[in-house]
């Protein structure tokens, strides 16, 4: 009888052959080229693209049903709520059914969006159009991640509809790199009127002195524990600079010099701003860590632990969602004024990838995405954001007086001061703000250390 290893079709030969096939298949797959759509001519850019919103008029003379794509533009959306995602999918389906330039949407969450876009750019596979966050303009523009849009915008008649601060947010070194799709403000004054009534306060504060005085009257304690804070602001490790930036704007100062080459926090304005925040903790009107909840959605506002304070549109959104009764008892007033009435404008925007193969087609798509009804449907109804352009101010959400007050706050909001190293600068500043608020450093020392740390980061 032949040796089993010498038998044709033996188990060992079968296993060897199988392993070779299993090993070879991935190699073959990796070496093959996926078929690409045939290149076709791109439609020339128009001054105003048709807007395929759900209830809007249809674009001129396009057949219904899916059209064959002449090109496909990848668009990345960040952090959309479920309702907004559904709207986008429907919008894309409608658009692709009527346009030759098709949209391929991609959805991600904010927390991983920056990593994804930077690795995508590094790998040369970034989407043609992508959503960008507040500090992204200098980072992306100085590193070749975003295309200059001035040539497109000079022919775009609607561009004047954008709020000036929202336009300015997208500018770096005199060039525009992004178009805002939503804004946010966090420096409005929120308050509970019934607690005001109990404390004998008739109107919300308009100045820093009033805010501190009212806070002392409003705070409630059980023993040493503050159960209802007389004031609230972001005081945690990574974001407390945002509270400070509102205050330094109100004090008439800046966190950077005009040329953004050096920090300017160790100044009388910076000292006034940081002292204002620290004062609430020193007065024992709020705990040093603020009133964060275990979940961002269950913060002090949504759980009724704040009588008045700096309120963001997200605070109102979460309170409305999780505590509608309390929401009815929450009101919003304009932000405080010290030297001037001001607050930081947080801007989320669309950017175009600098190496997009179809920039003109991407611009077509972008125009569709920034139409007022599309922006309202995705970002106002979905995100409770404040408007980036004036046409968005007609949204139904702003029939609510609280949200109307927040939307009005955009008029005096200032573009956020950002530099290419802002992702490093923000936490460095926050650490010093937190140290001052928690009392481990004096205000003066914290500001000195802040400028030292930021200068080191800017130097590189």
């Amino acid at each position: 009888m032949p040796h089993p290893h010498q038998m044709p079709g033996s188990r060992r030969r079968f296993l060897t052959a199988g392993a070779s096939v299993l090993f070879g298949l991935p190699l073959l797959a990796a070496c093959s080229n996926p078929s690409a759509p045939p290149p076709t001519a791109v439609a020339s850019p128009k001054a105003a693209a048709p807007t395929p919103a759900p209830a809007a008029t249809t674009p001129a003379a396009q057949p219904t049903g899916a059209t064959q794509a002449s090109t496909t533009i990848a668009v990345r959306f960040n952090g959309l709520a479920t309702g907004s995602t559904d709207y986008v999918k429907k919008f894309v389906a409608d658009w692709n059914g009527k346009q030759k330039i098709h949209i391929a949407p991609d959805f991600t969450d904010w927390s991983s969006s920056f990593q994804k876009i930077t690795t995508g750019i590094a790998g040369g596979i970034a989407p043609d159009v992508y959503a960008a966050g507040g500090l992204w303009t200098p980072v992306m523009s100085t590193n070749g991640g975003a295309k200059i849009l001035d040539d497109y915008l000079k022919n775009y008649q609607d561009w004047n509809d954008w709020y000036p601060a929202a336009q300015k947010d997208g500018v770096w070194n005199g060039k525009t790199y992004s178009i805002a799709y939503e804004t946010g403000v966090q420096g409005m004054v929120g308050y509970q009127p019934d607690l005001y009534k109990k404390a004998g306060i008739t109107n919300p504060p308009t100045t820093w002195d009033e805010a501190r005085a009212f806070a002392k009257q409003l705070v409630q304690r059980t023993g040493d524990t503050i159960t209802v804070a007389g004031w609230d602001f972001l005081a945690n490790n990574t974001l407390s600079t945002q509270s400070y930036e509102d205050a330094i704007d109100q004090a008439g100062g800046h966190i950077f010099s005009e040329d953004k080459a050096k920090p300017t926090n160790n100044t009388p304005e910076g000292e006034a701003a940081l002292s204002f925040l620290v004062g609430f903790v020193q007065d024992k009107s709020m705990p040093p860590q603020g009133t964060p909840g275990a979940m961002p959605t269950l913060n002090g506002w949504a759980t009724g632990k704040v009588a008045q304070g700096r309120v963001a549109y997200t605070d109102l959104q979460y309170t409305h969602q999780y505590n509608p009764t309390l929401y009815q008892n929450t009101q919003v007033a304009a932000s405080l004024k010290q030297v001037k009435q001001a607050q930081v404008l947080y801007v989320d925007k669309y950017m175009m990838y600098s190496k997009s193969k179809e920039p003109d087609a991407a611009w077509e798509v972008l125009q569709g995405l920034i139409a007022p009804d599309v922006l309202i449907a995705i970002y106002v109804q979905g995100d409770w954001a404040t408007p980036a352009r004036k046409a968005m101010a007609n949204a139904k959400l702003y029939d609510d007086p609280r949200m109307k007050a927040v939307a009005d706050g955009v008029n005096y909001a200032l573009a956020r001061e950002a530099v290419p190293q802002s992702f490093d600068v923000q936490p460095a500043m926050s650490r010093e703000v937190e140290a001052a608020v928690r009392g481990t450093k004096s205000v003066k020392q914290a500001l000195q250390d802040m400028d030292t740390a930021v200068a080191k980061i800017l130097k590189g």
């Binding site: 060992r12 392993a19 090993f23 590094a122 490790n237 275990a294 937190e434 928690r438």
Partner: protein, 311 residues
């Protein structure tokens, strides 16, 4: 066929057999390489190559968006003067020294308990092991709620027994301790199972001999159980130390390094520098320093904990 022809035929047959055996041996070796090739390629591409790529990056300034720029030892020099890096090493060591002795002792205690031959003990073995198989992110989120100073269950229980509330994760004094408690809870089941295996490997006759010599439970534990568990303890401590020095998920979910950098660890700092500040070269340098640090600590552990117990 003549005898010579027959001998030649036999010789040819034997030579052919030798050749076919050599071919077979060669084929078997070749088959072996083919079978391990996918794993080797995977290891090379996803483990070895990235290590060398990171080593190269540690000598560069690189932000993902532009090509890396060689800067020599600047990143390593900057580490020497980076207070946050030094602070993160201290925090990481404190975390390791806080979790390992407590966790090891508790794991042994739990193992002794579940090693009993009593009805229902399987339920306890399963219950103690459950945290190990649960997602780190999921349990971290649950513990965020437990640790909430206002509505968290832990403060409620403290108040029930008349103790003062704690700020837990929100106070610089208790934040790292809170993470230590959570980590010990999460990992105890894993080490309990390892100790259980060790306990079940101790021969019964040693306990019988100790009983004959008049040893009580305590003496049996210290004189028989603990010495014979030295190899297990060695493994548990060394492996846990290596894991503790790389602590990351808890910080990312629970505290993001705060408050006041009291919970920042080396790996979290590497992550922040790489993916938030876009300083990948600097982060790579930090990770190599951590690698050397872990190597040194592991070497020290093996020297201190080396065992030679035999009965």
């Amino acid at each position: 066929m003549t005898g010579a022809e027959s001998d030649a035929a036999v010789a040819r047959g034997r030579a052919g057999t030798v050749r076919s055996r050599r071919r077979l041996i060669y084929q078997q070796k070749y088959a072996g390489y083919v079978f391990i090739a996918p794993s080797l390629i995977f290891l090379f591409v996803f483990v070895v190559l990235p290590i060398f790529a990171a080593l190269y990056l540690s000598f560069t300034q690189y932000n993902l968006l532009k090509p890396p720029k060689l800067i020599g030892l600047d990143n390593y020099q900057a580490l020497l003067t980076d207070d946050r890096f030094v602070h993160s090493i201290v925090n990481t060591l404190v975390f390791a020294l806080g979790t390992i002795p407590t966790g090891t002792a508790l794991a042994l205690l739990f193992a002794l308990f579940v090693n009993q031959k009593i009805r229902g003990i399987t339920f306890f073995r399963t219950a103690f092991y459950m945290p190990v198989v649960t997602s780190f992110v999921a349990v971290s989120l649950i513990w965020l709620l437990l640790y909430d100073p206002s509505v968290g269950v832990l403060n409620y229980l403290l108040q029930l027994v008349g103790l003062p509330r704690s700020e837990w994760l929100q106070s610089p004094q208790t934040s790292l301790l809170s993470i230590i408690i959570f980590t010990v809870w999460k990992n105890i089941g894993y080490n309990m199972v390892i100790y259980l295996a060790g306990l079940q490997g101790i021969p019964d006759h040693l306990y019988e001999a100790a009983e004959i010599d008049g040893a009580g439970d305590w003496e049996k534990f210290w004189s028989v159980t603990v010495p014979l568990l030295q190899p297990t303890t060695f493994f548990v401590v060394v492996v846990w130390f290596i894991g503790a020095l790389q602590m990351f998920v808890q910080v990312l979910i629970l505290t993001q390094g705060g408050p006041l950098d009291t919970t920042i660890t080396v790996v979290y700092l590497v992550y922040s520098n790489a993916f938030e500040y876009l300083k990948l070269g600097y982060a790579a340098a930090m990770s190599f320093v951590l690698f050397i640090f872990i190597g040194l600590i592991t070497y020290l552990n093996t020297r201190i904990l080396s065992y030679d117990t035999a009965y």
